[in-house]
């Protein structure tokens, strides 16, 4: 290479031309006067931090990691990566107990599952919520996702033989939410894939993707999980399997955050980890079919989760939903719902989280759909809590729209 053929730095912050487009899209900057905004927190701040780590700004913790700045940046600067990696490198304040709890999605799930009815009952009670608000600073308005008494993993394990019978196979990275809170989404995926002649396997052993740990100041633990997952995914990929997912955030974390934030090499598996909607869409384009019901009718508004926008794969979910006979489809203008994983749970963020989501909630009310489709579980919590509209993963809608084999 000749000198100065390309001028790029790590995280390419020098490609920032200070055009300020990112600041027009940052949802936090609009509601929190203390947040310096993506340009200053990202590329501008990075130059200063390179000069002296002491110039790290504690206000970077307000970043949602929604990555809208990266979607809209005309220079492809990895603004959010710059911010999150600076937090990893320079943040000195130890995480609070609350943050440990919120970040440990899998540990919490394992603990809560055997006693799910009690936990669910408790977290629904005003008294518990007030207590959590006061002691843990988890906002009292939040409805905690319910825990499921029976996990998805067990459910699928019991069907191992039946699934193995299908001519084509995929592995499914289900994530904490499907396993501990909402196994139905996993079951829906199995139904849809089975209907296409595809059997579903579990990974040898998956762990939480680690995103909640990353944004809650526990990157070392996140890295352990990442290493584990990459190994586990690697085994599936080596045996010739694609790995499908139903959570846009887990997917983005595994594909993009592992190398850029955790310095975990995922090159061997990255391209094989796909959102299920992309996998199905591509199968259908290649000639596969789905047994759609002819009596299905729904008005669906699609919300592109921030991380789905960052993946650039919203188009697959949209196309899939549009393919369903009897669907009246409205894409919602892309904007952040304000939840951003564990961010919205925190008491100090609650008001901002609601303010950020307001334009989306208004849009949904204006469209007044039967159901809002969305590929992210935390968007689901936020939208359901804030608007009362039901939110479903496109896969669940798809499962409902195809004829039933009567199995569950």
């Amino acid at each position: 290479m000749q000198y100065q053929e390309y001028t790029q730095s790590e995280y390419n912050f020098e490609e920032c031309t200070k055009c300020t487009i990112c600041t027009a899209y940052c949802p936090v900057m609009q509601v929190n006067p203390l947040y310096p905004g993506p340009k200053q927190a990202g590329p501008d701040g990075e130059r200063l931090r390179l000069r002296d780590p002491g110039f790290f700004d504690a206000a970077l913790k307000y970043c949602l990691n929604c990555k809208r700045c990266e979607v809209y940046c005309p220079s492809e600067v990895k603004v959010a990566d710059l911010i999150q990696s600076a937090r990893i490198r320079y943040e000195r304040t130890p995480p609070k107990v609350r943050d440990y709890l919120l970040a440990s999605t899998d540990v919490m799930g394992k603990l809560a599952r055997p006693v799910a009815p009690i936990v669910n009952f408790a977290t629904r009670q005003q008294l518990t919520r007030t207590a959590m608000d006061v002691t843990l600073r988890i906002d009292r308005h939040r409805t905690f996702p319910e825990y499921s008494a029976r996990g998805f993993e067990g459910w699928l394990k019991r069907r191992k033989k039946e699934q193995a019978a299908f001519p084509e196979q995929v592995a499914y990275y289900h994530g904490c939410y499907v396993n501990y809170n909402y196994p139905q989404l996993g079951k829906d995926l199995v139904k849809v894939l089975n209907a296409m002649g595809v059997g579903v396997q579990l990974l040898e052993k998956e762990q939480c993707c680690g995103i909640a740990l990353i944004v809650n100041g526990q990157s070392a633990q996140a890295r352990k999980k990442a290493l584990h997952n990459v190994e586990s995914l690697g085994k599936a990929v080596e045996s010739g399997l694609k790995v499908v997912t139903t959570s846009s955030t887990c997917t983005l974390t595994i594909r993009d955050e592992y190398p850029s934030l955790l310095e975990v090499d995922n090159a061997a598996v990255r391209d094989s980890v796909l959102m299920a909607t992309r996998f199905i869409c591509e199968k259908l384009e290649q000639g596969a079919t789905l047994p759609f019901r002819n009596d299905f009718h729904k008005r669906i508004a699609y919300h592109t989760p921030c991380h789905m926008a960052r993946l650039g794969w919203g188009i697959f979910s949209q196309r899939l939903l549009q393919m369903i006979p009897g669907v009246e489809f409205t894409p919602l203008e892309q904007t952040c719902c304000g939840m951003a994983g564990t961010y919205g749970f925190k008491k100090e963020n609650y008001a901002n989280s609601q303010a950020i989501g307001a334009p989306l909630f208004d849009q949904i009310r204006a469209v007044n759909p039967d159901v809002v489709a969305c590929d992210c579980e935390t968007c689901k919590w936020q939208i359901e809590m804030s608007t009362g509209y039901k939110v479903e993963n496109p896969i669940s809608i798809l499962a409902e729209a195809i004829s039933d084999n009567g199995k569950d």
Binding site: Q2, C19, T20, Q30, P33, E76, E285, G312
Partner: protein, 383 residues
Amino acid sequence: MRYDTVIIGGGLAGLTAGIRLQKAGKNTAIVSTGQNALYFFSGCFESIQEPTPEIQSLFSEAGIRLHYSPGVRLMPMGTFKESALALEDVSLFPSPKFGRKVLIINFMAYHDFFSSFLAEGLEKQGMECRIRFLNLGDLAQPELGPNQMRAVQIARKMDEVWDKVVQEVRVLLKDEDTVILPQVFGLNDATIPERIRQGIPARVVFAATLPPSVPGIRTQMLLKKRYEVLGGTYLMGDRVTGAHVYEDTVQNVVTKHLDRHYLEADNFILASGGFFSKGLDSNPFKVYEPLFELDMDYNTDRNAWYDPSFTNHQPYMGFGVKTDADFRPSRKGVPVKNLYVIGSILGETHPELGCGAGLAIRSALKVANLITEPHAVPGVYTE
């Protein structure tokens, strides 16, 4: 995924072509690496004199109101520039002396709107000026932080409280015949500027701020919406990273996010912009088109790329992709049959089309016409 036409670049040129093609019943996709130069759009269509009906309808159908009135427009530093066609909220005057007494409104601690420069410029034209500051915190809560006093942030607040500004101005207004406001109105609602004009009993002029440009963002949003309503697929935040070209025909393009899921099409339009948008790139040895390595029209001597005077015309800004009369480029001298090049990536290689917005719209419409009615134009290649 297969489309009739895939457009690389989602700025004014790409959107114009996309809308025109969708209207003609084509199925298109636009791949856009983030947002684009519309974010700095002055609101004035430079180098377009009288708009054709086609241009008029392109914008009016998107809900963008234009007005045509050859004259001058007020620049934010208090100077004037010749203009003819502009967004409705950009005032055009027959001559720089458009009023007698002017009330200039600014926000306290807002450094991106140059009220004192405006006043001095207008005073030079014989107008009497008075500057008054509004406290944004009194109008809308929560208050913006000192570093959030930027056009878009204020505009979002103004979408909610613009009527309070009208009330404040009415109180401040004495015998002035003109009120100048910063261009921070109507980000999400294009009707707000007009409603402000109706609410203030004086001529209301909106003067530009430092970027991002609120009317520019609004224009982008409305054009994109129009394109999507017509059924177009806008892939925001993705980038075309490569293309498969077989002999003289582009088979498909590859994007960063869709990776091996290629975008196939009969025709491709390259509307990837100039240097800023990376449609053109440069290093110490050359200026080049990075995607297809198309033949360029530029001076290979680096010393000739620049004029040492900042204010003079900069030669590099004229560099562009070389095309034939039908906007088809070539690679190593061989024309590419189903690829068209439009917008500022052309540099000044088609001076008859003007520059900036004029070049973007005109080249986009011409190419869209070539694609939809190939037989109507003699000499155009068809399969």
